[in-house]
């Protein structure tokens, strides 16, 4: 009696998993197939879009790498991403720790206040922020984005990390202080290793946000050499009403697939990171 129900349960489980796999993987498959398609194949509506009706070609990758600034955009995006991650960590870790531990009940309220800041959309903020950027002489430069992105990432990260630091028993750092460490060294040796999931979540969130952010990148940077991937790719590959679909797909896949892989490697930690922040924050 037991075995059939177990088989049904298993079949149901893997069936649901298969549906989700298809749901999340099919856009990538479509992107990858499209990027190698010839124009004649892609633009004939009678053709099946999911298979190669004509032999694949590398010419669109050639266009992307050799006739656009794609590599420059990539370098810019990675540069901005890394710097914004560093700035975010340097500011949000101490902020979150002090709000979680030192300020008492006001820490909670301040934390909620900081999180509310994150909810103000960039479409509302880019006008006042453009005045700030111009007055600092950073317009049309990567550095404007390095300055502005932390306004989104720091509030969210602070709030996320606060949940982490709160969930670590105070006893642990007090034990470290009795064991001969200062507040700072007990934080580094005991609290930080236990908050790694949160830090990984912050890095992932911050980096992907700088990769896909569009409004600020479009508003503050106009010269092609300073653009990020999110703005550079569509502006160079959508010329007038001509969409270079295959090259667009190639650009999207090249950026998205490594990010997806990294997410998968750290999946457990990320889930722990985001859910913990959500429950305890």
């Amino acid at each position: 009696m037991k075995t059939p129900t177990r088989w049904i349960k298993r079949a149901l489980f893997y069936g649901v998993v298969a549906v989700f796999c298809f749901f999340s993987a099919s856009p990538f498959m479509w992107m990858i197939i499209t990027m190698f398609k010839q124009d004649k194949d892609l633009y004939r509506s009678a053709n099946n879009p999911f298979i190669f009706n004509l032999p694949p070609t590398l010419s669109h990758l050639d266009l992307l790498f050799n006739n656009t600034n794609f590599l420059v955009f990539m370098r810019n995006s990675v540069f901005i991403g890394v710097l914004v991650v560093i700035i975010t960590l340097v500011i949000s870790i101490p902020a979150a720790y002090s709000l979680a531990r030192l300020v008492g009940r006001w820490g909670e309220r301040a934390g909620i206040g900081i999180f509310l800041v994150y909810l103000v959309p960039p479409t509302l903020l880019f006008i006042p922020l453009s005045r700030v950027v111009v007055s600092l002489g950073l317009h049309n430069s990567l550095w404007s984005l390095i300055l502005v992105y932390p306004t989104i990432t720091i509030p969210f990260s602070t709030w996320l990390l606060m949940g982490f630091f709160k969930s670590i028993p105070k006893d642990l750092e007090e034990a470290a202080r009795v064991d001969g460490y200062s507040r700072l060294t007990s934080f580094i040796k005991v609290i930080m290793p236990l908050s790694m999931s949160g830090v990984v979540a912050v890095i992932a969130f911050t980096f992907t946000l700088t990769l896909h952010e569009f409004v600020y990148a479009l508003a503050f940077v106009t010269s092609s050499a300073q653009r990020t991937i999110s703005v550079g790719v569509p502006t160079e590959l959508v010329r007038g009403d001509v969409f270079y679909w295959q090259s667009l797909m190639a650009a999207a896949a090249i950026v998205a697939i490594p990010v997806g892989l990294v997410y998968n490697i750290f999946l457990d930690r990320l889930v722990a990171g985001f859910t913990m922040g959500a429950v305890k924050g």
């Binding site: 028993p169 006893d171 642990l172 007090e174 034990a175 470290a176 202080r177 009795v178 064991d179 001969g180 460490y181 200062s182 060294t185 040796k189 005991v190 290793p193 236990l194």
Partner: protein
């Protein structure tokens, strides 16, 4: 000479006086138990000795050194937390080695040797490669103790170290902890709300209530010669019975309150007429609830008797009970302080 001297120590959180003017001197090698109900300030007192809490006023000195303003890391103390506070990301070895690595003055081989030494006294050598989550409650407690000992502190602070163990383990943990403290001769302060731990282990007991020290003395002292009604009723389970007379209270322990038939006739007995309202059977002993007739407030009085006793007691009947005269204790009605025996 006293290893720890505490003078007029206070800690106020806003309006709450958690610790209020405490004076204590603890001689070398003593096992001192701080006993009190939750919220009496005992943990705050210990945290101030550890340096985790800054006193509002007063002085703490350890080994002749004024440590009042020093951070925990500069004090010659070690502490075992109620939760044990083992570092979950480190092995047992690294947990115990952690205090030694703090100052960087020990070589790797020194550290190894000292950890081995601590592990061998506590019989946890086999656990050194494990992580804390793979240990039982008793093993965690010993690891926490090892981590405290390894830096050879002048004073060992224990914050309810047995309360996370299950009841059966607690008895053997009491025994091993006490023997271990005797063997090392380390001055130890033990905070607990459990009077069995306090009476069974302490060289001396400090009974605290509402931030103040009620009495300091040996277990026999605080139990038999309680300084006030708080100590008398807090110690013993159930605590001392009190009966009001005119402007004073007198009290006696439930186990001293027995039917006249089985009272020791050599003693000078004080007799009471006792109306039994309830008999509670508790295995080895039974507790008799009732009212002493002629007392002015008709308060419930409890007698603890062995279940083996020949005297049959029934609910709703009145019996003659007796207490030896020398077991009666007298207290001031207003202040609750012990006073000279009064004529009954």
């Amino acid at each position: 000479m006293a290893v720890i001297e505490i003078k007029n120590l206070s800690k106020h959180f806003d309006k709450v006086k958690a610790v209020n003017g405490v004076d204590l001197a603890i001689p070398e090698g003593e096992l001192l138990v701080i006993l009190g109900p939750s919220g009496c300030g005992k943990t705050t007192l210990m945290r101030m000795i550890a340096g985790l809490e800054k006193p509002t006023s007063g002085v703490i000195s350890i080994g002749g050194l004024d440590v009042t303003e020093l951070p925990p890391r500069a004090r010659p103390i070690a502490m075992v937390f109620q939760s044990y506070a083992l570092y979950p990301h480190m092995t047992v070895f690294n947990n115990i080695a952690f205090p030694l690595k703090a100052h960087g003055k020990f070589s790797k081989t020194d550290i190894k040797e000292k950890v081995k030494w601590a592990a061998s006294i506590l019989d946890i050598e086999k656990l050194l490669e494990r992580k804390p989550r793979q240990l039982s409650g008793g093993e965690r407690q010993r690891v926490a103790l090892g981590r405290a000992l390894v830096k050879e502190p002048k004073v060992l602070l224990l914050d309810e170290p047995l309360s996370n163990l299950d009841a059966k383990l607690r008895a053997s943990a009491r025994d091993s902890l006490q023997r271990f403290q005797r063997r090392l001769g380390i001055t130890t302060i033990f905070v607990t709300h459990d009077q069995i731990e306090a009476l069974g282990m302490g060289d001396r007991i400090v009974v605290m209530s509402q931030g103040k020290v009620m009495q300091v003395g040996t277990p026999q002292d605080v139990y038999h010669n309680s300084a006030n009604t708080f100590v008398a009723s807090f110690l013993g389970s159930p605590g001392m019975n009190f009966i009001q007379r005119d402007n004073y209270l007198f009290g006696f322990r439930p186990e001293q309150f027995v039917p006249q038939e089985i009272a020791d006739r050599k003693d000078d007995l004080q007799l009471f007429s006792f109306a039994v309202t309830r008999v509670e059977y508790l295995g080895a002993e039974q507790q008799i609830y009732g009212v002493v007739e002629g007392s002015s407030d008709e308060k419930k009085v409890i007698a603890s008797l062995s279940s083996e006793t020949n005297v049959r007691l029934e609910t709703g009947k009145t019996y003659t009970f007796a207490v030896p005269q020398q077991q009666l204790r007298f207290f001031d009605h207003e202040t609750g302080l012990r006073i000279e025996p009064q004529p009954l």
